[in-house]
Amino acid sequence: MTTASILRLCASQELVLAMRARATQIFAVVFAALSLVVSASGYILSGGSGVQDFARTASSLTELVLFVVPMMALLVGTTALSPDQGAAELLFSQPVARRTLMWGRLLGLFAALVAAQAIGFGISGLIIFSQSGDDGVTSFLLLGAGSVALTAVSLSAAAAIASGAGGAAGRRCARGLAIALSTWFVAVVLYDLVALGLASLLRSGPASRLLITATLANPVDAIRTGVLLGIQGTSAFGSASLALLRFTGGTTRASMLIVAAVIVWIAVPALAAARRLERADI
């Protein structure tokens, strides 16, 4: 069997498993419901009525995506990839490199989570299109791309967590989930507060450098900055994003730097997981 066909086989099996998993189904339903609520509620909150257009919906949905997508991908990925003793022994005794099995499973999980998000984006997109036309559809697609990138980053982190969660076989998944939730809390909730708090204690120059580093060092921040840059330009930027923009000297170079940071965040944890898995005792 070729590596490509093994990848396809593992991905399709993992896709089936993820689609049948209650967590993925709940994610798809909740994400679709929240997307609908957000797209329908924007005008109501500002005193108007009716469905928002694509650009406004994308702006309103950004925080929801940044909050929900990493959590689901981390939890689903860590659960699926943590070695379940009996299943892992059988799977890894097959004449296939462990890293190939891991990449195949990651691809399947990625496809399942992207499909779940596509349902949410798709339903709200259809309603917006029917009510408000296609104005600002590019912003909406950019948010979708950011969401897909965030899924890839989070699954890569989940692979690293699953391969590194030690302890007794039966407790690896629970330990992995605890690490995944902590990672999510730090990256999505705590990180910005700490970065801004530290920056407020520094003078302008060092504070800017700290904020630039902080934006690129956290993939959630990097994707947030990239999406906001595409949707709203610099008008919606906070201090960290503005510091990055000043440092790079323009939106094009800032975008390239963000894309590079996201690629690194997708590749490095997954490669480290593959390397660790190859050397691990199962």
Binding site: I6, R20, A87, E89, S93, Q94, V96
Partner: protein
């Protein structure tokens, strides 16, 4: 076919297997025996390429390749001790996945399901399977490829009598076809029925490597004859001890350890002494007793 050369595996400074050297040839069936924690599963998992030796080598196939090499695993199939599958899949979906992964034709998949007596339930979700059915599904997966080497970790532990019959039949068939089989078991019956040789691990060390005949002789020598007697003369125990020095008496019961060959002489002696024999039982040697003897260095 399988070669352990000074294989040692240590987990967090605890040695699980120490300096194991064992060569298993083609078409040979070897049972790995030993008490819990003796290193049987670690040994089997090293052969399956699942754990890396701390030192030494584990080689599979002809010519031998390190078990950790994915290519070497073409030559083997492995059944773990506690097999598990995703519960939302059906038995058929599991078999289909492994069939495609091993590049086996569909007929082999059907045959494996039939041998594991899962034909009628292969369309059901694994969540509905009993522990024995999951184990039989694992066995079906292990039987899918006709790899030259089979590694089975306590394959009969969860099998019912029907499953056991099917298992014996498959292994005997594979053995006749020239497959090399290394398996662990706590059931002496399994080991005696299937194995050509017995590797006995105690505390991670190879304590004995015996043929079927040698094991049988050793176990027989550790049998016990129990006689319920009455009207026995006062010196009966001393007379019996001339034949079996470890004989003891507890109430009306005379307990005579020793080889099966001495039993007729003991019975004759008791009768000739004028004692009446009310009851008689004979037990063959037990593996746990044998292990204890090995630990005590009396092998």
């Amino acid at each position: 076919m399988i070669a352990f050369r000074h294989f040692t595996k240590t987990f967090a400074s605890h040695p699980a297997v120490r300096d194991l050297s064992l060569e298993i040839g083609g078409a040979e069936v070897v049972a790995l025996l030993g008490p819990n924690g003796s290193g049987k599963t670690t040994t089997l998992k090293a052969a399956a390429g699942l754990i890396r030796p701390t030192s030494g080598d584990v080689l599979i196939g002809e010519p031998g390749r390190p078990a950790g090499d994915p290519g070497a695993r073409e030559a083997l199939s492995f059944l773990p001790q506690r097999v598990a599958f995703p519960e939302s899949l059906t038995g058929r979906e599991v078999i289909e996945f492994y069939r495609r992964l091993r590049g086996v034709d569909r007929d082999a998949a059907d045959a494996a399901l039939k041998l594991a007596s899962l034909n009628g339930s292969s369309g059901r979700a694994i969540a509905t399977y009993s522990g024995g059915m999951v184990q039989r599904l694992g066995l079906a997966v292990a039987l899918l490829p006709s790899a030259p080497v089979m590694l089975l970790d306590e394959p009969t532990a969860a099998l019912d009598p029907d499953g056991l019959c099917a298992f014996y039949s498959v292994i005997e068939h594979r053995k006749a076809a020239g497959q090399t089989i290394l398996f662990t078991s706590h059931q002496l019956g399994d080991a005696e029925r299937l194995a050509d040789r017995f590797a006995i691990l105690v505390d991670g060390r190879l304590a004995a490597l015996l043929t079927a005949r040698e094991l049988s002789d050793r176990l027989a020598s550790r049998g016990v004859l129990r006689l319920r007697v009455e009207h026995e003369p006062a010196d009966l125990l001393n007379r019996v001890r001339r034949l079996s020095p470890e004989a003891t008496q507890s109430g009306d019961q005379l307990i005579v350890p020793g080889p099966a060959g001495t039993r007729p002489a003991v019975v004759d002696l008791v009768r000739e002494s004028g004692a009446s024999i009310l009851g008689l039982t004979a037990e063959e040697g037990r593996l746990d007793v044998f292990y204890r003897d090995l630990v005590g260095g009396r092998s």
